[in-house]
């Protein structure tokens, strides 16, 4: 299955003027996006089809990409979402008993412009030091205008004209337009659901409803534009447990007022809630915390996270450029419990809706002490910043789906107790470095 296409030249241009020359990979042409790096060594197919990568150019730090080709089982959505793809050594030959075609073919077929033969490590180091930025890939005929090679200045100018990620409200661009239902599967297939979850698709990955379905949950996936009335209509009315889930997704949480208001309505109704990734940021904002853009984000499948309710470390899959700004530790170094700031805002505005109460940062990234999960102590709600569905990635965090099912079926046991104060021996200085 060696591809016979003659490689065409390509150039990657960053908004700071940095250029990397390489070869066209996948489709040729021009593409723009926010350039980010991903450190996973496996799972390129899942990465490419993750809607959270919408409008991003992804740099793979693993040098060999495409070795196992492409199959129809592993995609996390119906299409490749990345706006561009940067690799070092694309596979010439596919080797996997499940492969159906090559990655090169797939990228070309879906019109995804990529570039190969780039010093991806040098590029990653730059992004680490300078932070993520806009970039463009230009290849083939797009490198020429009127018979002359285009100048770097010209290309940089085009990159600078492309939209920024900060302030971008993108979830609606990736969300499903039609609601659909995923019935319980596996050993629960054909049985009455243990609970029903309305999952708001902000860029949901296929594995997420599947992980819930495997646990006996019926999942109704609804569009991003859904209202609280839509959600309530989808929840069961037969007395069986119901809950709401907010998925991962692209864009800046600060630009997602609709989702924030929707979630507040859910919380006000005391409907059990679980959110992941973008869903975590929305919970943070709904509770009144801020969100901020990380220097270069977390994108990989090897990130250590401490679950403060169990004291255990899990290796997790991440893909986030923004994070919630909530107090991680108190003055004594113990997990800080804070009052949801939105309660104060409401009180100040004379709103007497019952407050959200106490919130604890239940999950912390051990590399840089970034908030990786929130647990409400007075509400049936929690969220994590990473991907327990782990596609791609390790399955260490799968217990969170069990925790959600537990919250739905045994709400009296909520909230989980925190393990005695957890301290780590590792410096917290990197939080600034990653800001």
């Amino acid at each position: 299955m060696t591809t016979a296409t003659t490689p065409q030249p390509a150039i990657l241009v960053l908004e700071d003027g940095t250029t990397h020359r390489g070869r066209a990979f996948g489709a040729t042409g021009t593409t723009f996006g926010e350039i980010v790096f991903s450190t996973g060594m496996t799972g390129y197919q899942e990465t490419l089809t993750d809607p959270s990568y919408h409008r991003q150019i992804v740099v793979m730090t693993a040098p060999h990409v495409g070795n196992t080709g492409v199959n129809d089982e592993d995609p996390e959505s119906g299409k490749i979402w990345v706006s561009g793809y940067v690799v070092r050594d694309p596979a010439r030959r596919v080797s996997s008993w499940r492969a159906q075609r090559s990655l090169t073919e797939e990228l070309a077929a879906q019109g995804v412009v990529g570039i190969s033969d780039v010093d991806t490590r040098a590029l990653t180091r730059r992004l680490r030091e300078e932070g993520v930025m806009r970039a463009g890939i230009f290849s083939g005929d797009d490198l020429v205008r009127d018979g002359y090679p285009r100048t770097v200045e010209e290309l940089v100018a085009e990159v600078k004209a492309a939209p920024q990620m900060a302030g971008a409200d993108l979830a609606r661009e990736v969300s499903t337009t039609q609601a659909y239902t995923v019935e319980p599967s596996g050993e629960h297939a054909g049985r009455a659901p243990l609970a029903t979850v309305v999952a708001v698709d902000l860029g949901i990955k296929a594995m997420t409803p599947q992980r819930l379905a495997e646990r006996g949950v019926r999942v109704v996936v609804v569009p991003q534009s859904s209202t609280i009335a839509d959600i309530e209509a989808a929840l069961p009315d037969d007395g069986t447990p119901g809950g709401v889930f907010f998925s991962n997704g692209p864009g800046d949480p600060a630009a997602s007022q609709h989702e924030v208001e929707l979630l507040r309505a859910v919380l006000d109704r005391r409907i059990p809630f679980f959110g992941i990734c973008f869903g975590n940021q929305i919970l943070g904002r709904a509770l009144g915390y801020g969100t901020y853009k990380l220097g270069y984000g977390h994108r990989g499948i090897n990130q250590p996270v401490l679950d403060r309710t169990t004291g255990k470390v899990e290796v997790t899959a991440h893909n986030h450029g923004f994070a919630v700004d909530a107090p991680v530790v108190d003055a004594a170094g113990a997990p800080a419990v804070s009052q949801a700031p939105h309660d104060e805002t409401r009180r100040a505005a004379g709103d007497d809706t019952p407050g959200y109460g106490r919130v604890v940062v239940s999950h912390v990234g051990l590399n840089d002490q970034v908030v990786e999960g929130l647990t409400c102590l007075d509400l049936p709600a929690f969220s994590v910043q990473y991907h327990p569905e782990a596609a791609a990635g390790p399955h260490d965090a799968a217990y969170l789906f069990d925790r959600f099912v537990g919250l739905l079926t045994d709400p009296a046991a909520w909230p989980p107790a925190l393990k005695t104060p957890v301290t780590t021996s590792v410096s917290t200085s990197t939080i600034e470095e990653n800001l």
Partner: protein
Amino acid sequence: MPRRPDISSVLVIGSGPIVIGQACEFDYSGTQACRVLKEEGLRVVLVNSNPATIMTDPEFADATYVEPITTEVLTSIIAKERPDALLPTLGGQTALNAAIALDEAGVLEKYGVELIGANIPAIQKGEDRQQFKDVVEKCGGESARSEIVHTVDEALAAADVLGYPMVVRPSFTMGGLGSGLAYDEDDLRRIVGQGLHYSPTTEVLLEESILGWKEYELELMRDKDDNVVVVCSIENVDPVGVHTGDSVTVAPALTLTDREYQKLRDIGIAVIREVGVDTGGCNIQFAVDPRTGRVIVIEMNPRVSRSSALASKATGFPIAKIAAKLAVGYTLDEIPNDITQVTPASFEPTLDYVVVKVPRFAFEKFPAADDTLTTTMKSVGEAMALGRNFTEALGKALRSIDKGGVTFHWDGDAPAGDHLERLLHEIQRPTEQRLVQVQQVLRSVGQPGGATLEQVYDATGIDPWFLDQILLVNEVAAEVAAAPTVTEDLLRHAKRHGLSDAQVARLRGMGPTGEATVREIRHALGVRPVYKTVDTCAAEFAARTPYHYSSYDDETEVAPREREAVIILGSGPNRIGQGIEFDYSCVHATLALAEKYETVMVNCNPETVSTDYDTSDRLYFEPLTFEDVLEVYQAELAAGPVKGIVVQLGGQTPLGLARRLAEAGLPILGTSPEAIDAAEDRGIFGQVLLDAGLPAPAFGTARTLGQAREVAESIGYPVLVRPSYVLGGRGMEIVYSAEQLTGYVERALADSAAAAAPGTLAAPLLIDRFLDDAMEIDVDALFDGTELFLGGVMEHIEEAGIHSGDSACVLPPVSLSETEIARIRRSTEAIARGVGVRGLLNVQYALVSDVLYVLEANPRASRTVPFVSKATGTPLAKAAARVMVGETIADLRAEGLLPEHDGATLDLGAPLAVKEAVLPFKRFRTREGLVVDSVLGPEMRSTGEVMGFDKDFPHAFAKSQAAAFGGLPTSGTVFVSVADSDKRQVVFPVKRLVELGFRVLATEGTATVLRRNGIEATVVRKHTEGRGPDGELTVVGLISEGQIDLVVNSPSGQGARADGYEIRAATTAADKPIATTVDQLAAAVQGIEAVLAGPFEVASLQEHTAATAARLAGAPAGSPAPADAVPAGAGA
């Protein structure tokens, strides 16, 4: 939680001598562990019988016992030191087995020693086949269908169920010893028979064949809070059927999707939890069916393994160090990642490069051995390389092997016709050559009548992705060969896929100076490697550790520096004759120079301490070739001032580069390349000896057969013949006749690389008179240009003619007079001065009838430097490094690094050290399944060594035997069959054995002599006589059945060393001690007397040093106090 407060002292067991399957990776892991435990403020008690290890340097533990790793000795040490805990997971299978034995003997319970890092049930679950199978099933994994058997008959019955071929694996053996693949009943009987013997539990597992499946390994770590991380995934290029130690392997796994990888990870984590590995590392091997993806768990090691060392070097995650911390109570999230220093160890390294490991074999040392690679490990070392892609890493790894014929080449036309057919057939059988054969076959792809990639896949089972990568290298090579001119793009392309300058030159037919020309063009075009950093995190966080590898990419990461640098060249992959002893010297150099210089290590051996990124200020994991070293030098020169390069400590590999490096203008520290050549050049060296008035055996050199015969006749047979510039006596033979000489020269000429023109060798053969019955003496010394420091004089126990590396020796010498030692010192000084040594010098002498002949001199670190250093308590290699950068012996004396008196004047109370070699014969079998011949000769075959250390020779010798192979027998039956010339001398030692209670069997001739001397000896049948009329066994039969406890068999002179082969082979296979010379027997008798006199007394190196200091200070002299007189915890 911080470390456990209830542990204040820990006993660490090392892995003993280097053997195949258990090499210096355990020195690396043990050294890391000792460092960590000491940093934690714990008292570290270390036991290891291997003196050539860094871990046994006295500063790494509080009490260092270079003593045999036996239950008896360990019990004495525990009784004396009373450690709180025992950490057995860092010393390979040896340490783990020792811990089990101590537990079973009730020793741990008796002295209240807690096993940490492992527990007995976990070890049993991991190692016991049936228990492990149950574990795997419980974890949702699958094992190969299998049956456990305890007899050959049970095995035959199992064959009816499982069908052939079938894998045979003995329980509780290391490196796959005794395992193999049975294709039919004969195979099964043979392999199971051996396997039952090797298994300490007489237990063998038979398994359905998963031959040809993809093979993977995961390295995992678990802490006491049940956090588990996967440090590294490793994929074997050679599919299942070749032991992972003998496979070309790659990290990370390259041909799995995330779903499949996560499945392996899930099973791996479930298994480590179910087995119950408390804390620490563990390695799990998987097979994946390439057609269906079915996963089978092959096995696990509940300890740090060879693969852990590889994984640590491949990822920058120091498994052994972390394992030691976990064992004393830390959790993964409490331990900082060494490399980033700001992130914790509870993460999984991610790689932005590819690591390739290639094994190094030594079949040339065992010409009769079957070179098929099987599930029994046969390689003696390995090289690792890192590159930004697979082809770059592979090219670097192959050239790191430092051996002809194992790198890709494009000489001649692509194979076609019969040649191609033959190759396609040959690649079905995995051997050392297979990868190159595959590359050759792939050259024919696309040619008329050429092979297809699918054909190669069918023949080898090597994943098509890897085959395609080799195809890619061939395509690049073809482009290089066909290009009209050498352009920047072409060179960059070639370099990105791992081609060396030499390969490019050869592809373009540029002749002998082509490599230099290619380099000039390359430099002129600005095509230079950059140096990337191993950082565990694919650049996500900044690395604080300069652990570099080269790549032809855009950006370099070498940081500028102000301090002057010293670059130390390591020794490359371990091989017989060049192993851990040289790494020891390199590490010492870096330790000695670190204070004044920035030390920069260059090496490609992942097993070593030198390639620990902690050892030197900077580490370059690079091949030790001229091209690669030159580029490192230039990169470092661009970073700051460079004092020079150390080439004398890493053995022949760096030494072989010295001249070219010097010619390229690089500053060589210490002995000049000219002086190195002078010692090697017979003419110049002969003049040095003549000037100094030192006799040498008559010698000559020859490049042709005619010359060789002429020289030999003028000298007189027997002669010792060998090629120049070799280490470990490679190709060295004792030749007794013109006929034998002709055979030798013809073989040398047949090796194309050695022939300059038809019938003429490129480098001359050295022909020496062979001194029969000489006593051989080895000397290690240090010379600074004016003064000589004699490190030690070693007296060999076997007579001359047996390679010094294989010979047991004793220090201080036990039968040399002061006058003789003084003469040796004078001679050594004369040679050092004459040759122009600045640093270390090793001289070998032979003493015959009061004449001291100089056999050879090597102006470099020798294999015995660590032994001498341990035995005398003098850091020779450290001192050598300091002399090389210009300091004098007087300076070092003043500083206290060197003592006032040197090794020529050890006082009478000084302890005796015996070095004994450990030989790998039982690993190697002929195609017929017989053990290869175990007779010793001038070519070195041992893989490692042990040291016996005690107050007198008999005790030290007995300890060395216990450490090397489990010990001398103290009762039972001895079989004696000696050459006529030995019959007179054998009488006395045999008589003594009878007095000690041994029964004597002998062949007729020997028995006659013994009886006439009043020794009751029973005549047994010779092998050639066959069984007797009443089924009496021959001597070989008796040995095989274990009825003989000690064999004395001296081959009778004149070309008849093949005599008695069956006897020696059977003895080796039965694991019984054998003396092939009368001297060995005499030493053995003394040793047996010592063993019978009572249990060994144990003393740490620190105690020996203290005793020596006390003696020299005039305190009551004597050896260290006996065990019971030393209070627990004393001795540091």
